[in-house]
């Protein structure tokens, strides 16, 4: 029993263990940031490594907690992302006053996501969601001196509370109409009645809010811009990814009876999301804000993938999230490094960046190309598979719109590349020296971008896992 418990909840327990270590660290005599950071990063590496061993399928607490290979994979992806982010935010945290707290909060959100992914029950889902949101709001405020930071935190907490209010209303209606909260029981009792559809829409909105689907996306850009870069990247990659994982499984299993309805909803939402995201990304100057909108557009593509049939849909989405972790974090890594050293975050500031920082420029360029979906970067494969998955339903309007929107997205990614390579600048960003951790992280990302796509084994592995939820 106990062993089973330990193995099944390995990921969660590992994260919690780190949290408690940090807590005692904090209560004990205060150490220098660097030692704390070294320690934390080592722990995270261990945590990430542990994720690959002794995995087992199973359920506990009458389906409140499930685990299966796909979930393990998803958790590993999230672990990886957190590791990379932590390595990248080294430059920023070195001088920060509350390093252990930062990690405690961040990791508790991670734990929340794990519970959310593993949860087999709307209650667990809700708890996980909150656990992965509320601490983030706090962390978003960690640039205590900056007014933008606190504004971002305020926007995040209020709008997320609002969305969870709606979500809860939906859940309550669902509960009222079906009498159960357990995933495995729900499909049997869902009958697609209008009240249930309403409930579903409310729940969908809760998801859509977290993965910032238009029109539930409006908080995204502001929060991304205001929050510290580490938090922004965490929001844009980790929490989005986690919710996506849950979203797919919930849609494909729990709401199967409503499939026809949610397919059309996602159709509308994805088109809206791609277009609006692109249109806004067109005219951004702040790099984080720009990435925010670009990530919204990316979500639109992911939604298209979700509309596909279960296996290729979920496979392509998980695959894309993995790629997205690498590409987006590569971009954010450069941005966070630069903003930590120089405090400049405008795309204009990046004019002539290549003259001073060739390596960083290439990394950023590769990342942007991967986001834009240019071969041979992994992003190309990710987008291709997403669209192929979406095309399985034969909805060519959707595919054509998406394909043409890739052109718009191209424009703004290339705009940045243009700024980096072609424009000349009177005072370009000075040469930024890369500390060890960020360098590691960035190289890891680039390697990922190049390998994940070209090496087909990874996709096939994910695909093979993504039959069962």
């Amino acid at each position: 029993m106990l062993l089973n418990f330990l193995i099944l909840m390995k990921h969660e327990l590992a994260v919690l263990a780190i949290i408690f270590i940090l807590m005692f660290l904090k209560l004990g005599k205060d150490r220098s940031n660097v030692t704390v950071l070294n320690m934390v990063n080592v722990l995270l590496v261990i945590n990430f490594a542990v994720g690959f061993f002794w995995n087992r399928e199973g359920m506990m607490f009458n389906e409140m907690f499930r685990n299966n290979p796909l979930m393990v994979l998803e958790k590993n992806i999230l672990n990886l992302g957190v590791l990379i982010i932590s390595l990248q935010s080294y430059a920023w945290l070195r001088t920060h006053k509350h390093v252990p707290e930062f990690y405690m909060l961040l990791l508790s959100t991670l734990a929340g996501m794990f519970f959310m992914i593993s949860g087999g029950n709307l209650l667990m889902f809700y708890l996980g969601l909150e656990l992965s949101t509320i601490p983030l709001a706090a962390v978003a405020n960690f640039d205590l001196a900056k007014r933008q930071s606190s504004e971002a935190a305020m926007k995040l907490i209020i709008s997320s509370a609002f969305s969870s209010g709606l979500l809860l209303f939906g859940i309550s209606l669902l509960y009222g109409t079906t009498g159960t909260l357990i995933y495995t029981e729900l499909p049997g009792v869902l009958n697609g009645g209008s009240l249930q559809v309403f409930a579903f829409v409310l729940i969908l909105a809760g998801f859509a809010f977290k993965i910032s689907v238009v029109p539930f996306h409006l908080w995204t850009a502001d929060v991304y811009e205001g929050a510290p870069v580490a938090v922004t990247s965490f929001l844009s990659v980790i929490s989005k990814g986690a919710v996506l994982f849950v979203f797919i499984s919930v849609l494909y299993t729990v709401f199967k009876p409503l499939a026809e309805a949610w397919y059309n909803m996602l159709f509308i939402l994805s088109v809206l999301t791609i277009i609006i995201g692109n249109l806004f990304a067109l005219r951004q100057d702040n790099f984080k804000r720009f990435l925010a909108f670009s990530s919204i557009a990316q979500v639109g593509f992911i939604l298209i993938g979700i509309t596909g049939s279960s296996q290729s849909g979920s496979g392509s989405v998980v695959y894309f999230v993995l790629i997205y972790v690498f590409s987006n974090l590569a971009a954010f890594g450069v941005v966070s490094l630069v903003s930590a050293v120089t405090g400049r975050e405008g795309i204009k500031d990046y004019k002539g960046f290549y003259k001073t920082n060739p390596v960083l420029s290439w990394i950023l360029t590769i990342a942007l190309f991967s986001l834009a979906g240019v071969p041979p970067t992994a992003g190309f494969f990710g987008k291709f598979f997403l669209l192929m998955a979406g095309a399985e339903k034969g909805n060519w309007i959707l595919i054509t719109v998406a394909a043409l929107n890739m052109v718009i997205s191209f424009y703004y990614y290339l705009r940045v590349v243009k700024a980096i390579f072609m424009d000349d600048n009177t005072n370009p960003i000075q040469t930024v020296s890369m500390p060890l951790y960020p360098r590691l992280a960035l190289y890891l990302c680039v390697a990922g971008i190049l390998v994940v796509g070209l090496y087909s084994g990874i996709y096939e592995h994910i695909y093979s896992l993504s039959l069962k939820f």
């Binding site: 240019v374 071969p375 190309f380 060519w396 595919i399 290339l414 590349v417």
Partner: protein, 493 residues
């Protein structure tokens, strides 16, 4: 021989370039690499002839096929027939010439040569791949380097042009993607040869053909979507313009042939009149637009629009000869336009202007360059003995074999364009290399060894095609015959 070498060799060269120190190493390595490509291409040609002579009548030779992404049944499937070998040879020629021409690039030369080589990877991969996915993959691989090449090393309103080019080409490949997806979901495979064996319902073909054809057409300056050509070519650095006009416009033509026409023959029959209409417009209107240009590069760019019109015309006519002509025209236009751009580049690097009005009398001071310029001009106005003539005549003959009166009219109009071509070429030549020379050009230097080599290489190619076209013909005809069989077994007569 293993075709993957064609991809690996440039790739290795490119990676090697990253570790080079100093201008000399970079130049020499890229020259060695590109020459090796050329050698490889010739090796391929020889083997091909040997095997064909040995009576190997397979549709595709040297096929090499292994599964890449099993879930979507994506293969890495390469193989060549005569047409693709012709294209590969063209690419190799242009690459070497491009490297030679850009010998003196100082600014960021490592990156420059890396991108050039990388571009060639895309081109080779595109021409050898028999799997729609890899085809698409390499198609897009070939786009981005152009953007950087133009934007960083270009001249004039380079950012605008680079952006325009990248976006329009990307729009093209987006359409291509839809077409490919359509083919995939109606056949369950990306494999070109496999799809060609299947029968796709005409309705489906009719729906997806425009996507594929227009998508590829944008690459090869299909009429309303050609506007990236003038700006892109004129802003690009010399080598990049050579690549653009010489290679990447051919990607489009090849795709139109290999994917759109070959895999959707019914639709090809249905839409051939549209293709011919657009092609004829492109030919005539491109020629007249060229007549009004003042800038040498614009002249050549617009003439490329007109010449690529011949390619599309040949494809649209759907006769054996005309398709042969289309392929021939692709190769010949690739060579001669590359030569033209090389000559323009040489002139520009000396006089620092491309304004026809500002130039004059260069024949006196730079006889070699001027001669090259004139030869390129004569080639593009279709002088017998040079490649252009053979290609255009083949297209005309093939087009005329299509007995429909409207098609005949289109053919006649297309023929008429050779007069206009003569007009603008001779105007350009007359104003640039002939006439009285202005004082400030009096002490210009003639071509340096690398420029001479590059020009010589291209001229050699042009002459070979022009004097011994039967060589190219017996190279490409088997491929054309395969396409003709495909077109023959359609439902619509």
């Amino acid at each position: 021989m293993n075709l993957s070498l064609l991809i690996l060799l440039p790739l290795a060269t490119g990676i090697g370039l990253l570790f080079c120190r100093g201008v000399k190493q970079v130049r020499s390595l890229s020259l060695v690499g590109s020459v090796a490509q050329l050698g490889l291409a010739f090796l391929l040609l020889l083997e091909y002839w040997k095997d064909r002579a040995a009576g190997n009548n397979a549709k595709m030779l040297y096929e090499n096929d292994f599964t890449w992404f099993r879930p979507l049944n994506i293969h890495y499937h390469v193989g060549v027939d005569g047409i693709s070998i012709a294209m590969i040879l063209l690419t190799a020629f242009v690459v070497v010439a491009g490297v030679l021409v850009s010998w003196t690039v100082e600014k960021l030369n490592k990156e420059f040569f890396f991108l050039l080589i990388f571009l060639s990877v895309g081109a080779y991969g595109f021409f050898i791949s028999l799997d729609l996915f890899t085809l698409f993959f390499f198609l897009e691989v070939a786009v981005i380097p152009k953007f950087l090449l133009i934007g960083i090393w270009g001249s004039g309103k380079k950012e605008y042009s680079a952006m325009k080019l990248a976006l329009m080409l990307m729009a093209g490949s987006a359409l291509v993607f839809v077409g490919l997806a359509g083919l995939y979901f109606n056949t369950g495979t990306f494999d070109v040869m496999a799809i060609s064996q299947m029968k796709i319902a005409p309705a489906i073909q009719k729906f997806f053909f425009p996507f594929a054809f227009i998508g590829f057409g944008i690459f090869t300056a299909l009429f309303p979507f050609h506007t990236w050509v003038p700006d892109g070519h004129s802003s690009a650095p010399t080598a990049a313009s050579m690549f653009l006009a010489g290679i990447s416009m051919k990607l489009g033509g090849y795709g139109c042939l290999r994917v759109a026409t070959f895999l959707m023959p019914d639709a090809a029959h249905t839409y051939s009149w549209v293709i011919i209409l657009l092609a004829t417009i492109a030919i005539i209107y491109g020629a007249f637009a060229t007549m009004m240009q003042k800038d040498l590069k614009y002249i050549n760019a617009y003439s490329s629009v007109s010449h690529c019109g011949f390619v599309l015309l040949g494809i649209g006519m759907l006769t054996r000869t005309s398709i042969n002509g289309a392929v021939l025209q692709m190769v010949s236009h690739g060579l001669m336009t590359a030569l033209f751009f090389a000559a323009i580049g040489m002139i520009y690097s000396r006089t620092h202007t491309r304004e026809v009005a500002k130039l004059g009398g260069l024949l006196k001071v730079t006889p070699f360059i001027s001669t090259v310029f004139v030869i390129a001009g004569l080639a593009s106005l279709g002088l017998p003995g040079l490649s252009g003539f053979v290609a255009e005549m083949t297209v005309f003959m093939g087009a005329w074999q299509n007995p429909d009166n409207m098609y005949r009219l289109a053919t006649i109009l297309a023929c008429a364009s050779i007069v206009v071509t003569a007009v603008y070429i001779l105007r350009a030549a007359g104003k640039t290399v002939m006439g009285p020379i202005s004082e400030n050009y009096i002490k210009l230097k003639d071509a340096s060894w690398n420029e001479k080599l590059a020009a010589g290489l291209l001229i050699a190619g042009i002459l070979v095609i022009g004097i011994a076209p039967f060589l190219v013909f017996q190279l490409i005809t088997p491929g054309t015959d395969v396409i003709m069989q495909q077109l023959a077994k359609t439902i619509i007569p």
